[in-house]
């Protein structure tokens, strides 16, 4: 009969769940957990430099593998620091299991040192959470936490463990089996037939695909459906990679920074086949004006998403892979020449790219150069801001889970630690983090983690010495009252990186930036590349927040 303390029970169960890497930071209230972790032969600990970084490292592993990843933090500030990473995972439906230390049970509620109400704070930003009241409960809570994180619509689960629960000894009969991820549900035949009839009857359908399709492993099925019935396809930021960006049916990203032709095509659509999407305002613009002529088929594993913002004419509650596979036999094979010709016409009238966008020194030129050097296998993380949108618009994504980006919460500081996590999960693959000078500063301490762990991540800093997207909004919507959106001092990122022991290159003022970039990308270890970007480079087109998607400002061929 095993006789172990609570901390050992947690670690042993992580091993049994197949966890091989845990990121985090120790502190007073989780020291028993770290003591047990030190004795684990199977689990490697990655010491972050800030708990938010630790949370995003776990996210990087979870987003690239699709499986729950684990992070640790101590009580109080450790817990508050990791909350941002949990909220981020919650909004993007990323499976995490976060274990926090807590003050001992007798001190709960007394404002003890490093005590905060971690359970209460995490309620609205986790799929589920636990405050563990006895070590024996861990035998059911830990497997259940993994099951919840990975089943249905994935999400973060928090387990808050008081210190004396970690040290409490328990004797028990046998280990509980790790809970399997619950089988995704299929959908009743009838609603599939209804949806199929709508697709067959539609003249101008559009597939509108989001992160849920990736979570369901349904990219192949989605592509099959698109090709089988000649359906043009748009993707949300979270859905990029479902169709390769050069696929003839791909219209790229929709919404606030979509190309004009995409948003205009949606305006003309008579049927929206929405799957794994939640009609987020960055994608839909003013929802009452979104695809006004279209009926809606909405496929989602989360029943509460169907009809939440846009009523669905046909709702399919279930996983996108099963839904698409179930739909396909009922769908007529079609080319839809008329509709696809119309879209090609729109794309000719409002081209996605212009030759001058790819002139040396311009963001798209840089992004494509990096893509060429990194190769098709590369995993790409971004931070949040202009660079993120440029990458979404121009990077040649080919596969799902290739792009790691903070979509729902839009967390600056996401990129570097997420890239570290991606590299930990896939040690053989190139990993590139596109960042901005604003975003990188928000978790720059993780440069130390990257060097210490020998993570060969390439950090490309698009440096415009400003909070670029904020500045752009001030220009467009606040009468160019630029305030608090540019930095008065210039930070030397290359020198800072070298201070962390990282190789670094600065493309500013060099004769042949292309050659230097190539040299930097060929570095065997971690490397930072600073790239100056003109502060006036804007993300275009842009739908003003709260406006209809057809109201697009800026760029060539402006209609408004």
């Amino acid at each position: 009969m095993p006789r172990l303390n609570g901390a050992q029970i947690i670690i042993r169960q992580l091993e049994r769940q197949g966890i091989r890497i845990v990121s985090g930071i120790p502190g007073g209230a989780n020291l028993p957990l770290y003591d047990a972790l030190a004795a684990s032969p199977a689990i490697r600990h990655v010491l972050a430099r800030h708990e938010q970084g630790g949370g995003f490292i776990a996210q990087g592993m979870a987003r690239t593998t699709g499986k729950p990843a684990v992070c640790f933090a101590t009580s109080g500030p450790g817990a508050t620091n990791i909350m941002t990473a949990l909220a981020d995972a919650y909004l993007d439906s990323v499976p995490l299991v976060c274990v926090t230390g807590q003050v001992s049970r007798s001190l709960l509620g007394t404002d003890a040192f490093q005590e905060v109400d971690t359970y209460g704070m995490s309620v609205p930003i986790t799929k589920h959470n636990y405050l563990v009241r006895s070590a024996a409960d861990l035998l059911t809570i830990v497997p259940k936490a993994f099951q919840l994180a990975g089943s249905g619509r994935p999400g973060p689960v928090l387990i808050d463990v008081p210190k004396d629960v970690q040290t409490e000894m328990v004797e028990f009969e046998s280990w509980p089996e790790p809970c399997p991820v619950k089988e995704r549900q299929g959908e009743a035949h009838q609603s599939l037939e209804t949806a199929a009839a709508m697709i067959n009857q539609a003249a101008r359908p559009i597939l509108y695909l989001g992160g849920g399709v990736i979570h369901a492993g349904a990219a192949a099925e989605a592509r099959q459906l698109a090709e089988h019935s000649g359906i043009p396809t748009v993707m949300t930021l979270m859905g990029l990679g479902i169709l390769p960006s050069d696929h003839p049916l791909s219209l790229g990203m929709l919404g606030m920074h979509a190309c004009r032709a995409t948003n205009l095509a949606m305006e003309e659509s008579d049927l929206l086949i929405a799957a794994g999407v939640r009609f987020d305002d960055r994608a839909t613009g003013r929802i009452s004006a979104f695809c006004p002529r279209a009926k809606v088929i909405h496929v989602d594993i989360d029943a509460s998403e169907i009809g939440k913002l846009r009523p669905a004419d046909a709702g399919i509650t279930g996983d996108a892979r099963h839904a698409f596979a179930g739909l396909l036999p009922f769908i007529r094979r079609r080319q839809r020449h008329e509709w696809n010709d119309r879209i090609r016409q729109l794309q000719q009238d409002y081209p996605r790219f212009h030759a001058e966008d790819f002139a040396p020194g311009r963001p798209f030129h840089l992004i494509r150069q990096v893509a060429r050097l990194a190769g098709p296998e590369a995993l790409i993380s971004t931070d949040v801001g202009k660079h993120q949108m440029w990458v979404a618009q121009a990077y040649p994504f080919t596969t799902p889970r290739q792009l790691l980006t903070s979509g729902g919460l839009g967390t600056m500081g996401f990129g570097l630690p997420a890239a570290i996590g991606a590299a930990l999960a896939f040690p053989g693959r190139p990993v590139v983090c596109f960042s901005g000078d604003g975003s990188l500063l928000m978790n720059i301490q993780e440069l130390a983690t990257a060097v210490e762990q020998k993570i060969p991540v390439k950090i490309v800093v698009l440096n415009n010495q400003s909070l670029g997207l904020v500045r752009q909004q001030q220009r467009l919507f606040y009468e160019q009252h630029y305030f608090a959106s540019s930095y008065a001092i210039k930070v030397d990122f290359a020198t800072i990186a070298r201070g962390f022991g990282m190789a670094a290159y600065d493309l500013e003022g060099v004769d042949d930036p292309g050659a230097l970039l190539q040299q930097a990308m060929a570095e065997p270890g971690p490397c930072l590349i600073n790239v100056p970007i003109d502060i006036e480079e804007e993300v275009t087109p842009m739908v003003p927040p709260g406006a209809a998607n057809t109201t697009m400002i800026g760029g060539d061929h402006a209609r408004n």
């Binding site: 209460g120 309620v123 589920h128 405050l131 029943a303 509460s304």
Partner: protein, 106 residues
């Protein structure tokens, strides 16, 4: 004046009762009240008591039917600690009795 308004509200035909069966632990009320607060759902009344051996509780929620009721029910159903959600318009009388009792005892 507020008393009359409250009385009218009590009689409002759009009021319905949701009957929840939930795990009985200290965080459950927080989970449910928090859901209503953060999703801007209207919660007009709440009554809760442990049932059975005390592992579960029954909660009656008085909600405005017109106020996104379907979404409220779907979101409640997603909570791991909520075991069942039933719409029980029939329980209206029972809730009215509880309200009357609470008004009497002040």
């Amino acid at each position: 004046m507020p008393a009359i308004e409250n009385h009218l509200e009590l009689q409002s035909p759009s009021t319905t009762i949701l009957r929840l069966t939930v795990n009985n632990h200290p965080g459950v009320m927080l989970q449910i009240c928090g859901l209503f607060a953060r999703r801007a759902f209207n919660l007009e009344g709440i009554f809760c008591t442990a049932i059975g051996q005390g592992e579960t509780s029954r909660i009656w929620l008085k909600v405005d039917e017109t106020d996104k009721l379907e979404q409220v029910v779907k979101q409640l159903t997603k909570l791991e600690d909520v075991l069942a959600v039933e719409e029980q318009a029939d329980d209206r009388d029972r809730v009215r009795e509880m309200e009357a009792m609470m008004a009497r005892t002040g």
